[in-house]
């Protein structure tokens, strides 16, 4: 099975967001970037499927700035066979143009499985995997937290509101990965050395016109400072009174 893993470089989750002067993007000063947490599950699952089948290939791809090389190198060190950087200087937030560019590239490589994270934690879109599947005509299961492969057919489990769905899925497929699917491995020294010899392709990508244009990026209104109603168990009546006053009790 030839597997493509789509990854994204995103601000670390503890980043305090500041808006840039253009009012449409974040100010990147002082922001540390990391591999999107859900994409780690996607990469790990790809490596496990390759190990299970003892055949095939794992290619990691991203659309993003040149700095993504760090995250792609890390993926190679963890065990991916090849890395592809489709480079752009824009903030990649528009799912449609991103999916179109990724689909166009995927059509040029051998691929019967695309693994993604469920959501990129910058744009919080949760749309690229199913969007991509639509453009490729692939089967799709999103937000998967359990996945088994048997005779070329996947059985996936995903949480839905108040229940769990068991889905069967043919190949070629796009699967988006959620927490719980696996425990991602880290790169070891041997992997880091081996990564240096693996193929790394960098080519510019044109994202085309955006389906959604940014009007503004703003900070949400700050919550008004709260009130400490008291200390210890003696404060319980005061809390109850406060909650009754605003009619939530």
């Amino acid at each position: 099975m030839d597997i493509v893993v789509c990854i994204k470089r995103v601000p670390a989750t503890d980043t305090a967001i500041k808006i840039a002067a253009d009012g449409k993007s974040i100010d990147p000063t002082g922001v540390t970037f990391e591999l999107n947490a859900y994409d780690e599950f996607a990469l790990e699952q790809a490596l496990r499927i390759k190990e299970q089948l003892n055949a095939g290939s794992v290619t990691v791809v991203t659309i993003g700035p040149k700095e993504c090389k760090k995250q792609l190198d890390d993926a190679l060190a963890r065990g991916a066979d090849k890395a592809v950087l489709l480079s752009t200087t824009e903030w990649v937030y528009d799912g449609a143009s991103t999916a179109a560019a990724l689909a166009a590239w995927i059509k040029t490589v051998p691929c019967n499985l695309v693994l993604c994270g469920r959501q990129a934690v910058d744009s919080d879109n949760n749309q690229l995997p199913a969007n991509l599947a639509g453009r490729l005509g692939f089967a799709c299961v999103t937000e998967v937290s359990k996945l088994a492969l048997d005779n070329g057919v996947f059985t996936a489990e995903r949480d839905i509101e108040g229940a769990r769905e068991v889905v069967t899925c043919k190949t070629p497929a796009v699967v988006s990965c959620h927490k719980g699917l696996n425990e991602p491995r880290y790169a070891n020294l041997k992997g880091i050395m081996a990564a240096k010899k693996k193929p790394f392709v960098e080519q510019p990508v044109q994202l085309g016109s955006k389906a959604m244009e940014i009007v503004a990026l703003t900070l949400p209104p700050a919550r008004a400072a709260g009130k400490i109603v008291g200390t210890g168990v003696d404060a319980v009546p005061a809390l109850i009174a406060a909650l009754r006053e605003i009619k939530v009790l």
Partner: protein, 327 residues
């Protein structure tokens, strides 16, 4: 005339409430853009759901009904929905941002060769273009966008629009669900949580963190939630205790867990890390109980008690149970 199309979610014959919230948003856009509202439902045995949708204020209901659609299939549903969107001259397509909406609508947008904006909290129509607002960076910022391609496609965050009601009773047009080759299909739905209130729908969320010290003490959190009476409160957890294996990931609140905005949220023994706050900052009222007066959670809590959870929570549980019993 063009239509603002709502894709309804029907599971096991039952209409899901967020679908009616999407109708409200659609009626707003229809008023602003001079369109009508049509609802598309997919499934097997849709009569009851369509009767309910007919009374939502929508002008038309299209039921793609038949045994082939008894179980959800993203590819099959998307193809059928797109066909109807074209027949309805859809200027916009809306659905709730639920497990099904997140799976279905991006594919629909791809087949319509247009864009999509997801997890939307506000929609509009200004200067001839559809607009939307959505939280990004885990709610640490809000992105406002304008659609540059047609139709406009969006998924809407649940609990954010009122549910539509009070329409005259729209006609339902029946379309036979096409059979054929399904690429992916739901084989089974396993109920989880034994009738517990889903975290995102609960009126009250009682969340516990590492301050509880041991897994067994989480019972204190469950007791407080139970004190609100059946079907009112759900329990949540910080990542620290999910990672420790005390609680399942489905209960995690935060940036890499669930985003909740209940009327009332209790953070008990939770420090208030930025990733936790990302999941609950939009709760209407936040109560924090923490023994450290400097814990960051107090900066966003409406009401706080500085104290030992092991003393405060049982007293609070007794007090709330007494109020609920008196009602």
């Amino acid at each position: 005339m063009s239509n603002i199309v709502v894709v309804a979610e029907v599971r096991g014959g039952a209409l899901k409430r967020p679908s009616l919230e999407a109708v409200t948003a659609a009626l707003q856009l229809a008023g602003q853009s001079g369109a009508k509202v049509a609802v598309i439902a997919c499934g097997a045995g849709l009569d009851a759901a369509c009767a309910e949708l007919g009374k939502s204020g929508a002008h038309k209901v299209v039921a793609i009904d038949g045994p082939a659609f008894a179980n959800y299939s993203g590819d099959a549903y998307a193809k059928a929905v797109v066909e109807q969107c074209k027949a309805l001259a859809a200027s916009a397509v809306l659905m709730a941002h639920t497990a099904m909406g997140k799976d279905l609508l991006p594919r629909v947008s791809a087949l319509l060769d247009t864009g999509i904006v997801t997890d939307v909290v506000a929609v509009g129509f200004e200067g001839g273009a559809f607009t939307a607002k959505k939280p990004v960076f885990a709610g640490k910022a809000t992105l406002a966008v304008r659609a540059a391609k047609a139709p406009f496609v969006a998924t809407l965050r649940p609990n954010n629009f009122a549910a539509a009601a009070g329409g005259a009773g729209a006609e339902t047009q029946k379309v036979a669900a096409p059979g054929g080759n399904l690429l992916s299909v739901v084989k089974e739905i396993v109920a989880s949580g034994g009738g517990k209130t889903p975290l995102q729908e609960a009126k009250v969320v009682v969340a516990g963190g590492r301050g509880l010290k041991e897994a067994q003490h989480f019972k204190m959190i469950e007791d407080l939630a139970a004190a609100f009476g059946p079907g009112v409160a759900a329990v949540g957890a910080s990542r620290a205790i999910v990672d420790a294996g005390w609680r399942p990931h489905s209960e995690q609140v935060g940036q890499t867990g669930k985003v909740v905005s209940p009327p009332l949220y209790f953070a008990i023994g939770i420090s208030g890390a930025i990733q936790h706050i990302a999941g609950m900052r939009t709760a209407r009222t936040i109560v924090a109980i923490n023994q450290d007066a400097d814990a960051p959670i107090f900066k966003i809590a409406d009401f706080g008690i500085v104290g030992d959870a092991f003393e405060v929570v049982p007293a609070l549980t007794t007090a709330i149970a007494a109020i609920v019993a008196g009602k």
